[in-house]
């Protein structure tokens, strides 16, 4: 038992240092236990698949961000993430109306789902969060204009009145804010697209 825990810890360290193969070993080692646990709660292969995927996306993000504290408890930690996502699933499911498509005609054959799927939603929220943090790095006067224009949808006339500067100054601050944001994006090869 102790040997396996130590091996997990070593794999995690290797993965954090850039060895992608270590993640594969970890997933293969524990996939059945985690997937079976999720399935035993939701009894649906597709939903179990989604929750399993979301669980490991959280695991990967946490490990790569350096926010994981190794205490030899990798599996209990992953199971807790999976458990929380199962609870989220049931909470969301209770709020949503269900459609029982038991007949031969499928309503979904004529309806298309134009909303974002789970993957795109994750990407969208990550991009929005990154942009928000980029804005936080700007000088205060530029940040103020960006927030008023892009988030509060104010006109440059309104921004000018509120901040007590001329419209041209407000326009200039907006321009420099965008230039500075582009610089940070280019410098770090950031991709902010959905």
């Amino acid at each position: 038992m102790q040997k396996e825990l130590t091996a997990d810890a070593v794999l995690i360290t290797n993965y954090i240092r850039g060895n992608e193969g270590a993640l594969e070993t970890l997933i293969i080692r524990h996939k059945q236990k985690i997937y079976s646990f999720i399935y035993s709660k939701v009894y649906n292969r597709d939903i179990a698949e989604d929750i399993f995927q979301d669980t490991f996306i959280k695991v990967i993000n946490t490990l790569k961000m350096g926010n994981y504290n190794e205490e030899g408890k990798f599996i209990p930690w992953v199971m807790r993430i999976a458990h929380n996502l199962v609870i989220d699933h049931f909470r969301k499911n209770n709020r949503m109306p269900k459609f029982d498509n038991s007949g031969e005609f499928s309503i979904f054959s004529v309806l298309s789902d134009s909303s974002l799927n789970a993957e795109k939603q994750i990407i969208k929220s990550q991009v929005e969060s990154d942009v928000r943090r980029l804005i936080d790095e700007l000088p205060e006067d530029q940040k103020e204009v960006i927030l008023m224009r892009m988030y509060n949808d104010m006109s440059f006339k309104e921004i000018s009145d509120k901040t007590g500067v001329s419209i041209n100054t407000a326009l200039g601050r907006m321009r420099y804010a965008l230039i500075n944001m582009r610089k940070i994006i280019e410098k770090n090869n950031m991709v902010l697209t959905n």
């Binding site: 079976s36 035993s40 995927q53 790569k64 961000m65 790095e137 950031m190």
Partner: protein, 46 residues
């Protein structure tokens, strides 16, 4: 019927699809963390 009901979930070998595992490994390979002014940014390189 007895055979059906005697099989518990833990006895069934349940595994995620290969596509799911591949997606996770590809996601991990594409994900890079960039430190910028003490802030960490997630970048997905396709």
């Amino acid at each position: 019927m007895a055979k059906l009901y005697s099989k518990t979930t833990s006895q069934i070998n349940l595994n995620p699809k290969k596509e799911t595992l591949k997606f996770l490994l590809d996601y991990s390979k594409a994900l890079h963390i960039v430190n910028c002014n003490n802030e960490k940014f997630k970048i997905s390189i396709n």
